[in-house]
C-alpha cells in the first residue's frame, strides 16, 4: 500500500456539495464570479508582457 495519502479532500477555493454538481447555489455562482475577477486581475499582472513575441518564439522540436 502506498504511504498514507488523504483520498478525498475538500477543494481549496470553494466548498463542495455531496450531491449532483448541478445544484450550484446563487451564492456559489457569485463567489465563482468574484474568484474569476481576482484571477483575471492576477493574470493581467503575470502574463508575458509581449504576448505576440512570446507566442511567436515558442517553438519546440517535435518529441514523442
Amino acid at each position: 500500500m502506498p504511504e498514507q495519502i488523504k483520498k478525498t479532500r475538500q477543494p481549496r477555493s470553494h466548498s463542495e456539495t455531496q450531491s449532483d454538481a448541478s445544484s450550484a447555489t446563487g451564492s456559489q455562482t457569485k463567489s465563482l464570479a468574484v474568484d474569476l475577477d481576482s484571477l483575471l486581475d492576477e493574470i493581467d499582472e503575470v502574463l508575458e508582457s509581449n504576448a505576440e513575441e512570446f507566442v511567436k518564439s515558442y517553438v519546440q522540436k517535435g518529441g514523442q
Binding site: 502506498p2 495519502i5 478525498t8 514523442q64
Partner: protein
C-alpha cells in the same frame, strides 16, 4: 501498476542555445544539486553515461551536445534528455493515486532543476519549462502513460477496446488548447474552432502503429515490457495530454487502469466501439460544447459524454462483480466516485468542474480574459495564456492560480522527490541508490548494476515489477552494511 513519462517544452530566453543543450543543463542541474548522479544503463550499447559533475563551462564544448544525459534518481525515477526535451518518467507506481504523487514530485524536480540551472546562467538568460504538448506550430511532444497488463489478453482486443476510452476521455483529461493545427483534416462542420479540448488530438493520424514522432497512432504497439515478457505486457500510451490538475491526472490514469482491468477480464461492453476513431478524436476535441456525436460500430451515434457514461456504468457493474483489487480497492472506489462526479458536472454545466478539468479551467480563464479586454479569438494574448497555463515557474504558472483541487500533501510530494514508492521494484532501485550511490554503476527499469570491490560488476536482474518492494526486501536492505553483503544475501528475491 502504472507510470507516466512527461516530455517538457523548453525555452532558453536571452541566448541562442539549442534545446538539447538546454535540456541537458536542466537535467544535470538537479543531479548536481543533490548528489553524484548514476547513469542509465543501455545494455546493448554502453554501460551507462556518466552525468556526474558537469560545470557550466562544459556546455560550451561542441562535443557535449552529442552526449545525451540520462540519470536515475533516488526515488526510482528516470530523468533524461529525449528528442530535445527534458523528460522525466515516474518510478513504477502501484496505484493511480501514487502515480499522481510521483508525477507531482516530477514537477518539483523540474522546478528545482530550473532554479539551480538559472542561478548558474548569466543574468539576462533563463531556461523555462512547460508541462504541455504542443507549440501551436505543428510540433508536438508527449505525456505517455504506461500500464502493466497481462500477456494473455490478445493485443488486438486491448487495442480496439481501449481506443474507445482514449478517444472519449479527453472530455475530462484534455488540457485545452487555443487554436487548431493541421487544418486540412479539421472536423467537418466545425471549420475553425478557436478552442479545443485536447493538445494532442490534431496529431493522431492512425488507429494503431509503432510510430511516436510522426503519423502518430491512437494505440501504440511498442512492445518493450522492461520485465518478464512471457507474463506481462507494458501498454505504452501516447494518446493523452499532460495535466496540471491533479484530479485530471488521477482520473486519466485511474479510469484507464479500470477499463484495462475490464478488458483483461473480458468485461468491456462489446458494442462500445467507435467506427472511425481517428476522425472521432478530432471531432470530439474540436467541440467544447460536447454535443458532437460520433458513429459507433453498431450504428448508434453517441457523444463522448454518452460513451463515457456507458463506460462508467460498465465499470460500476464490473467492480460489483469482480472487485477492484486489480487497481487497489479503495483507490479504485475513489476513481469511480470522481469519474461519476466529473461526468455529471460536464453534463449539467462544464464550468462547474473548472476546479478539476484542465480544459475547463483554461477556457474559463481565456473566455473571461476575452470578455474583460474585448478581444478577438485570434488575439496573441489568448495563445499566451494557453502556454503560460503550463509554465513551470511558480510565479508565472496560470494553472497554479486557477483554483484547481489538490490531492497530494506538499510534504508527501517533497518526500517523493527522493523516496521511492514502497510497493514496486522502484523501492529496491531507489533505496540502493540512496545507500550506496558510489557502488551502483548503472540502473534501468529491470536491473541494477553494482561495482563490488574485488568482485567487479554484478548485475541484479529485476524482471518482476511487483517484487523488490519494501515488504519483500526492506528488512534485508536495512540489515546489509555493504553492497557485497546485499549481493551475498539476495538469493532469489527477484
Amino acid at each position: 501498476m502504472c507510470g507516466i513519462e512527461t516530455e517538457y517544452g523548453i525555452i532558453f530566453k536571452g541566448g541562442d542555445v539549442n534545446p538539447i543543450t538546454a535540456s541537458s543543463i536542466i537535467v544535470n542541474a538537479f543531479s548536481q544539486g543533490v548528489h553524484d548522479s548514476v547513469g542509465w544503463d543501455f545494455i546493448d550499447e554502453h554501460p551507462g553515461s556518466d552525468a556526474r559533475g558537469f560545470s557550466l563551462d562544459d556546455y560550451l564544448f561542441p562535443e557535449f551536445e552529442s552526449q545525451l544525459v540520462n540519470t536515475v534518481l533516488t526515488n526510482g525515477a528516470r530523468y533524461y534528455v529525449d528528442h530535445a526535451h527534458p523528460e522525466i518518467s515516474t518510478p513504477e507506481c502501484r496505484t493511480a493515486l501514487e502515480t499522481v504523487l510521483f508525477d507531482r514530485a516530477g514537477e518539483e524536480i523540474v522546478r528545482r532543476s530550473m532554479q539551480i540551472a538559472n542561478e548558474g546562467l548569466p543574468f539576462e538568460s533563463e531556461i523555462v519549462l512547460y508541462k504541455n504538448n504542443s507549440d501551436g506550430k505543428g510540433n508536438s511532444y508527449g505525456c505517455h502513460e504506461n500500464y502493466l497488463v497481462s500477456r494473455t489478453t490478445p493485443f488486438a482486443q486491448i487495442a480496439q477496446q481501449i481506443t474507445t476510452h482514449f478517444v472519449s476521455r479527453q472530455i475530462f483529461c484534455g488540457a485545452g488548447k487555443v487554436g487548431v493545427e493541421h487544418r486540412g483534416i479539421a472536423a467537418k462542420g466545425n471549420s475553425s474552432p478557436w478552442f479545443q479540448l485536447s493538445q494532442r488530438a490534431d496529431f493522431f493520424e492512425e488507429e494503431i502503429g509503432l510510430e511516436t514522432t510522426l503519423k502518430r497512432p491512437i494505440v501504440n504497439t511498442r512492445d518493450e515490457p522492461h520485465c518478464d515478457p512471457v507474463k506481462y505486457r507494458r501498454l505504452h500510451v501516447i494518446a493523452g495530454d499532460a495535466n496540471m490538475s491533479e484530479v485530471a491526472t488521477f482520473l486519466k490514469v485511474g479510469t484507464t487502469a479500470i477499463v484495462l482491468a475490464m478488458i483483461e477480464d473480458d468485461e468491456f461492453p462489446e458494442h462500445l466501439v467507435i467506427s472511425d476513431p481517428v476522425s472521432a478524436v478530432r471531432q470530439i476535441s474540436h467541440d467544447y460544447s460536447l454535443q458532437t456525436a460520433v458513429v459507433m460500430s453498431d450504428g448508434r451515434r453517441l457523444t463522448a459524454l454518452q460513451i463515457q457514461f456507458e463506460l462508467y456504468e460498465a465499470a460500476v457493474q464490473y467492480a460489483a462483480r469482480y472487485g477492484l483489487e486489480a487497481v487497489d480497492q479503495s483507490v479504485g472506489q475513489d476513481v469511480l466516485l470522481r469519474w461519476q462526479h466529473v461526468l455529471l458536472g460536464l453534463k449539467s454545466d462544464p464550468m462547474s468542474v473548472a476546479n478539476v478539468v484542465d480544459w475547463v479551467a483554461k477556457l474559463r480563464i481565456v473566455e473571461g480574459f476575452t470578455l474583460r479586454h474585448g478581444l478577438q479569438h485570434d488575439d496573441a494574448r489568448l495563445k499566451a495564456i494557453d502556454l503560460q497555463y503550463h509554465d513551470m515557474r511558480v510565479d508565472k504558472c496560470l494553472a497554479l492560480r486557477a483554483g484547481l483541487e489538490v490531492l497530494c500533501e506538499t510534504d508527501e510530494v517533497l518526500r517523493s522527490m527522493s523516496q521511492p514508492p514502497s510497493s514496486t521494484r522502484a523501492f529496491f532501485r531507489g533505496t540502493v541508490l540512496q545507500r550506496w550511490p558510489h557502488a551502483v554503476i548503472a540502473a534501468n527499469w529491470d536491473s541494477v548494476v553494482f561495482d563490488i570491490d574485488n568482485e567487479g560488476l554484478k548485475r541484479v536482474p529485476m524482471p518482476e515489477p511487483l517484487r523488490g518492494t519494501k515488504v519483500l526486501v526492506g528488512e534485508l536492505l536495512a540489515m546489509c552494511q555493504t553492497p557485497a553483503d546485499l549481493l551475498a544475501r539476495i538469493g532469489s528475491q527477484f
